[in-house]
């Protein structure tokens, strides 16, 4: 077994152990027309963090719940972390951060997707709807009403993802039977086990024809 938890690649990338070496070899530096000398000077002046802020970030223009945001983000920032940590839109949940639970489901250009496996920069120009944008002000979306009525949750943590997924499930035309709802809602895990109630909520909204 390998007994350390650093990657071989990083060993190569960061073989030096000075701050200057880090900056020189950082991909950041290669990304811009900044000479290593200038970067090293910046490092000596302890400007490296500001420097990295400037060069590791990319512009992002994104519409979220009808509001346009013009931001600068690191390419590695996921849409989920952008929503939760940067924009404080914490209605979208982080359950697994690896595409295996559905808690982070949002609508991207009207289609349900997992925001944890989307880089924010990949969504430049996109329109995002999160749970915060689903209701019409104080007036809840019919799916939100149905989840309350049918008690489609307990702890509530998977709920925004379930609701965003449920709305899309109907829009996609995948809510025509209980069996179909169950299959097409299987990407949203509910550990409290509210599944049967969720099916009832979706059925009611679908049959009510409100969406």
């Amino acid at each position: 077994m390998i007994e350390n938890n650093t990657r071989e690649k990083e060993e190569k990338e960061l073989s030096g152990n000075s701050r200057r070496d880090f900056l020189k070899k950082s991909s950041v530096i290669t990304a811009i027309a900044l000479t290593p000398v200038a970067a090293v000077k910046a490092s000596d002046l302890k400007l490296d963090e500001k420097l990295s802020d400037a060069i590791e970030q990319m512009p992002l223009s994104i519409e979220i719940n009808g509001q346009q945001h013009n931001l600068k983000v690191e390419p590695r920032t996921t849409l989920l972390d952008l929503l939760r940590e940067r924009l404080k839109l914490t209605g979208t949940k982080k359950g697994c951060d690896q595409g295996q639970c559905g808690a982070c489901t949002v609508h991207i250009d009207g289609v349900r997707a997992l925001s944890c496996l989307q880089l924010a920069v990949m969504n430049d120009g996109a329109k995002i709807t999160t749970i915060e944008g689903l209701s019409d002000g104080d007036k809840l979306h019919p799916m939100q009403e149905a989840f309350i009525k049918h008690d489609g949750f307990q702890c509530g943590y998977c709920t925004p993802g379930q609701i965003m997924s449920a709305v899309a499930c109907i829009h996609e035309g995948h809510a025509n039977s209980e069996t179909e709802i169950r299959e097409f809602m299987s990407g949203n895990i509910c550990r409290c086990g509210a599944y049967a109630n969720i099916v009832n909520a979706i059925k009611e909204v679908k049959e009510g024809g409100a969406i």
């Binding site: 077994m1 390998i2 007994e3 350390n4 938890n5 650093t6 990657r7 990083e10 960061l14 152990n17 701050r19 880090f22 963090e49 802020d53 690191e74 940590e85 404080k88 914490t90 209605g91 949940k93 982080k94 359950g95 697994c96 951060d97 690896q98 295996q100 639970c101 808690a103 999160t130 749970i131 915060e132 209701s135 809840l140 939100q144 989840f147 309350i148 009525k149 049918h150 008690d151 949750f153 307990q154 702890c155 509530g156 943590y157 998977c158 709920t159 925004p160 709802i181 299959e183 809602m185 299987s186 990407g187 895990i189 550990r191 409290c192 086990g193 509210a194 599944y195 049967a196 099916v199």
Partner: protein, 744 residues
């Protein structure tokens, strides 16, 4: 039977969850979502060996990575003061965080990186280079059974369920005509609440700490942390307003919480630390892998002569974990001869934790499967076998039950599921490619009540605010408390709000062990009674006849206070405030159990019925129907009780069919840590279910007539599934989970 019991339709129309709106809007703020200025992010570095010593920890690259504020490990920890008070040589109880270079399990936190963003902290954590002097780790239970020990708890709590126990004659099953003698394996299971464990630690001053923390007990966490950091108890504040599930994983302080507090001390800023989903498999406890040996002997008429039950469970090298695996074998059935033996095996694993229906769920799997096996040997209906051994009083404590409606449970459930469709012979019922089977099993869990307090703030407009430190991990505590208060006062539920999850609120127990309604609900009743007495006192200023009013006769109707003893004497509530120029009325109430537990044995009961279809060629199991009948006393909040019950069944189906934390015993590392590898039930696994409540009042436990619910809805589900699978296929799977490979 008169229709007092509740079925699906009765409950669907009941009061909805009072925090539903905020949850469906995504506006409920869970721990990691609380906003604080100057927030920093902590990411853990964990060991990648199972046993050994860290010989070098190179943190330079991490420290130099952009945005990193600090890297903290055993080399530079600010230290946990409590550790200095403990014996340095012996690790006891909690893992001592960053206290030494010693590694006790794979995945142990060994450092934390704090940075200004999550991305930067995560990346820098990957740059920490660790060198170990590695030793062989031991994590397999069967291979290490020779290391099994009697837990220390057996000595400190000799009347508990970990002490070797004998009633009548040992191994009396051997004398019986019909015998079952088998081994059952419950693998480790992870709680995996959907919200990962999270904490935000802030040092407000050198001796003052505020934690936003995922916990099932804000006050218990505060007390534990105050002790660890040697702080005045009142200087530690813990907030856990919304908890995204826990199932037992947040019943104690875990290493990552200590880490965040240490980190916050080091960087002097709030530190947010959120566990990764994979870390949820080994950082916050798990249902421990348990090997059980069960032997039952019975006479031809099904009367059980003797029962022997032994349990061997995993625990960590540094801490003893025990649970009540054997309780059911001692009290469930009327058996003259019972012997039980409980052992634990210290291994290179993290400490387990109670997971929903803790030991009882594990124990019931073995016992209730063995009962089913016995029924086939006897050629007797499994329900009839259970009824033949029905205990009319608690055979363990030799006391009467406070209430026991098990017979009603069997009867109601058998009818609902269509038990008469079950074939007595296994593997005898097939439709097309699918083999059909029915299974039943019983669950039980002690009905507990502790002490609690509550505070009421009543306003002239008739709105009532109730506060208690209790957590809500999902069952709907605010809803049931609102229902209790509304019923007691006559007030409309919309007028009541209930605040919880704050250690500065009145005293409450942890939310665990199915005792919230019994304990906190009693405090709510006491508080509401006090409020009514207080209002009556004030009413007496206007109308002297109110002097004699007693709480149970007082109700709030609309804007008025009514005394049912004297219907003509009404007072406007607002006037009770205006007469003294009061803006609000604050009343407290306390409630504690009395002497009832000396007279009665308190248990909740459940009977679970499963219809399983098993594919003849692929071994795929589909749960087609689930019926559970529950004796939890009076149902306080029917809609949420039904949901909580269904959730338990779903958990039990997961336990039966798919959940398994697998370790690679070469390294002690978890190989099914992610949600892709550790399967929990998804929507497609779960049918519509029938939840039924006997809804008969328990006369002794508390003023509401309720007993506990959260545990009994999972205890007994896994054996019901296993028994249904056997009935369908003739294949007896004694090692969970029952995955398709075991049925082909």
């Amino acid at each position: 039977m008169s229709k007092k019991h509740l079925e699906n339709a009765d409950m669907e129309t009941a009061m909805s969850r009072v925090d539903g709106r905020v949850k469906v809007m995504g506006a409920a703020k869970y721990t990691a979502e609380v906003q604080l200025p100057e927030l920093t992010y902590g990411v853990l570095v964990e060991s990648t060996i199972g046993q050994g010593v860290i010989t070098a920890l190179d943190t330079k690259k991490a420290e130099w990575a952009p945005g990193v504020i600090a890297v903290i490990s055993h080399l530079n920890t600010p230290g946990v003061p409590e550790y200095k008070l403990q014996n340095q040589d012996v690790i006891q109880k909690q893992l001592r965080v960053f206290d030494s270079p010693n590694i006790y399990y794979n995945g142990q936190p060994i450092a934390v990186v704090v940075a200004d963003t999550f991305e930067r902290a995560r990346y820098a954590a990957s740059l920490v280079k660790v060198t170990y002097a590695k030793q062989q780790s031991y994590s397999n239970l069967e291979d290490n059974l020779s290391k099994a020990v009697v837990p220390k708890k057996a000595k400190s709590d000799p009347k508990g369920f970990t002490t070797d126990f004998l009633r009548g004659k040992a191994e009396a099953f051997r004398d019986a005509e019909f015998q079952v003698n088998e081994e059952y394996i419950q693998p480790s299971e992870a709680h995996h609440p959907m919200e990962p464990h999270s904490i935000i630690a802030t040092w407000e001053a050198a001796d003052k700490l505020t934690l936003v923390d995922k916990t099932q007990g804000s006050q218990q966490t505060a007390a534990s942390i105050a002790k660890s950091f040697q702080l005045p108890p009142e200087n530690v504040k813990v907030l856990s307003t919304y908890v995204g599930g826990a199932f037992g994983s947040a019943l104690r302080v875990w290493p990552h919480e200590i880490v965040a507090i240490l980190a916050a001390k080091k960087v002097q800023k709030p530190v947010k630390l959120v566990l990764h989903r994979n870390q949820m498999s080994y950082m916050v406890g798990y249902r421990p892998y348990t090997l059980q040996k069960v032997a039952i002997g019975a006479s031809k008429d099904g009367k059980i002569v003797g029962l022997s039950h032994a349990s061997y469970g995993k625990t960590s090298m540094y801490e003893e974990f025990t649970e009540n695996v054997l309780i059911m074998s001692r009290m469930m059935y009327d058996i003259p001869n019972v012997d039980t033996k409980y052992r634990i095996v210290p291994l290179n694993v993290s400490t387990p934790a109670p997971m929903r229906g803790p030991g009882e769920a594990t124990g019931s799997f073995a016992l209730e499967c063995a009962m089913d096996e016995l029924s086939y040997k006897l050629n007797m209906d499994p329900i009839a076998l259970r009824l033949a051994n029905y205990a009319s009083q608690d055979p363990d404590k030799k006391m009467p039950w406070s209430s026991n409606y098990l017979k009603e449970c069997y009867e109601l459930g058998a009818e609902k599921i269509g038990w008469n469709k079950r074939k007595a012979q296994p593997d005898a019922n097939q439709e097309g490619e699918w083999k059909i089977g029915y299974g039943v099993a019983t669950g039980t869990f002690g009905a507990f009540r502790g002490g609690a307090s509550a505070k009421a703030t009543f306003k002239p407009d008739g709105t009532l605010l109730l506060q208690s430190a209790i957590a809500d991990i999902g069952p709907g505590t605010a809803t049931s408390m609102t229902a209790i208060a509304a019923k007691n006062l006559g007030l409309a539920p919309e007028k009541i709000s209930f605040q919880l999850g704050n250690s500065t609120f009145p005293k409450a127990p942890m939310q665990g062990g199915s005792n919230t309604v019994a304990t906190v609900g009693s405090a709510i009743v006491a508080t509401c009674d006090n409020l009514k007495v207080e209002l009556a006192k004030r009413a007496a200023v206007q109308k002297p006849e109110w002097k004699n009013a007693i709480a149970k006769n007082i109700k709030i109707v609309g804007t008025q206070l009514i005394n049912s003893d004297d219907a003509s004497s009404k007072v406007e509530i607002a006037s009770l405030f205006s007469q003294d120029n009061l803006a609000e009325l604050v009343v407290k109430g306390d409630a504690a159990p009395g002497e009832e537990s000396k007279k009665y044995s308190f248990y909740s009961f459940s009977v679970h019925f499963i219809e399983a279809h098993v594919h003849e060629l692929t071994g795929v199991v589909k749960i087609k129907n689930a019926v559970s009948v529950i004796d939890c006393g009076t149902v306080v909040s029917p809609k949420t009780a039904r949901s909580q019950s269904m959730g338990g069944i779903v958990g039990g189906i997961g336990m039966a069919l798919m959940e398994e934390v697998v370790l690679d015993d070469r390294t002690g590392r978890t190989v099914t840590a992610s949600f892709g590898d550790y399967h929990v039930p998804v929507q497609a696994d779960i049918p519509q279910m029938d939840m039924m409540f006997v809804n008969e009042r328990d006369p002794y436990l508390n003023p509401m007539g309720s007993k506990g619910l959260g545990e009994i809805v999972i205890i007994g589900v896994a054996p019901a599934v296993a028994n249904a699978v056997y009935n369908a296929t003739g294949k007896r799977v004694r090692d969970l989970p029952i995955t398709p490979d075991k049925l082909i």
